[in-house]
Symmetry: C2
Subunit: 262 residues, 2 copies
């Protein structure tokens, strides 16, 4: 049984201040809940509807959660809707401890491997989620989120990562100017994506140890980070758009990095 | 002066059936309204607030609209909000005739140039908008929207195109299986983006006359179109994500196409 008070408590996690206070966040839908579970994320509780439990996918996932000893509680469709950010919660929501949060100062460059991505004030939740999913696809070793980024545990960010949130090492609240300095000291090249840069990205001009920085949707990368970077690169333009969506630009840069290895 | 009845009439354009009935749609924000105007789109009316008119950017844009003989009406902030899809309308909304709508059968392959993109049941408005913006950046000659795609004039689609809606030739309601057949007859290679394909996209294996097809976010491309295609290509994966966001995948494919020309 889950009480009305508990439900209200978890519904408050739609707000950032409550997520920070309780150190918990919500994950919606069978796919993301399944990813959280199989990645070993600290799932505290799973809340589902009877309709979900009666579906084929639902009964499989719920037995898996049960095998792992995770508390599962059934509620009405209306009660579930009070927790979910969208109408597409698809019958299941998990309450997860914010374990993926890596303090920025623990993420020393020696652990970055060959490819890290830093985000400076990315503001749109869908963009942040799509970037994390893209970083996961291209095997990025670490993602640094600067202090001005939208909250990683915003329900729309969590949903847009499509489970990739649970696959990557992500540092929140990073002091990006300091990270950039440290990265350069340790032999990383720091490159900034900037549509107005004079140098064109091509299929092979990215160095082997790279920290790629993407900026805010409207303002780009901050002046301080721009001044500290080694490279400013633009994706060549063939039409009339003023810029690319930041997640699309991230995909192009990451593929360009992997192309050099082919 | 604009009457309450007129305002109500235009507010109804948030719904697809009214956009189709009236053959009009709404464009929000100074940037998109400016792009519509400079691209010569048939702007019927512009509605703005006093606060917008008093801003530097606002007075410049309003005089330009006036010079072009476009009817401009001022309203209160609350009245403007009744028209806008977001809280970010930034003081200006335009009512535009749906001119960019090119009937699919007019878009004959001979007019496609070297690069066209077809979308089969892309459902998310933000994705459709980002794809159109990406097609504009990479100089795509034509975009075909299949019948199952989200409405091109959905306010979130319009906003996400960042003005690129006004730069491209876009055919709505295309019969994609027929388009694919015609394209092949005219010497186009039809390629499908499919994360499960055995052939990897690389920086140079795309043919010179190309129709690229992207599918639904969950289901991919329909079986009929898949069967008719010449190539199924996957963006190589280096991590654990199941797939890429469709707009991100589109960016990577389009850059790959342009790489072959470098």
């Amino acid at each position: 049984m889950i009480t009305k008070t508990e439900l209200k408590h978890f519904a408050s996690l739609s707000l950032k201040k409550h997520r920070e206070l309780l150190d918990l966040f919500l994950v919606e839908g069978p796919r993301s809940v399944g990813e959280a579970c199989s990645a070993g994320a600290p799932v505290e509780l799973v809340i589902y509807t009877h309709v979900f439990a009666d579906s084929t996918a639902g009964s499989g996932l719920l037995s898996e959660l049960g095998r792992r000893g995770i508390r599962c509680e059934s509620v009405s469709g209306r009660e579930l809707a009070s927790l979910a950010d969208t109408v597409h919660a698809q019958g299941i929501v998990a309450v997860v401890r914010r374990w993926s949060s890596v303090p920025a100062d623990l993420l020393v460059p020696g652990e970055w491997g060959s490819l890290a991505v830093a985000l400076d004030a990315v503001a749109d939740p869908g963009n942040l989620g799509a970037i994390i999913r893209t970083c996961d696809w291209f095997g990025v070793d670490a993602v640094l989120l600067g202090r001005e980024c939208v909250d990683l545990y915003n329900p729309k960010v969590v949903r847009s990562t499509m489970g990739s949130l649970f696959h990557l090492r992500i540092a929140e609240g990073a002091d990006l100017p300091a990270s950039v300095r440290t990265a350069r000291e340790r032999g990383y090249t720091v490159a900034i994506a900037d549509p107005s840069a004079g140098t064109a990205l091509n299929g092979g001009n990215l160095p082997p140890r790279l920290l790629l920085v993407f900026g805010n949707e409207a303002r780009g990368v901050s002046a301080e980070i721009e001044a500290a970077a080694d490279l400013r690169l633009a994706i060549p333009r063939f039409g009339r758009a003023e810029s690319l969506n930041v997640a699309v630009a991230c995909g192009v840069f990451l593929w360009a990095f992997r192309l050099r290895e082919e």
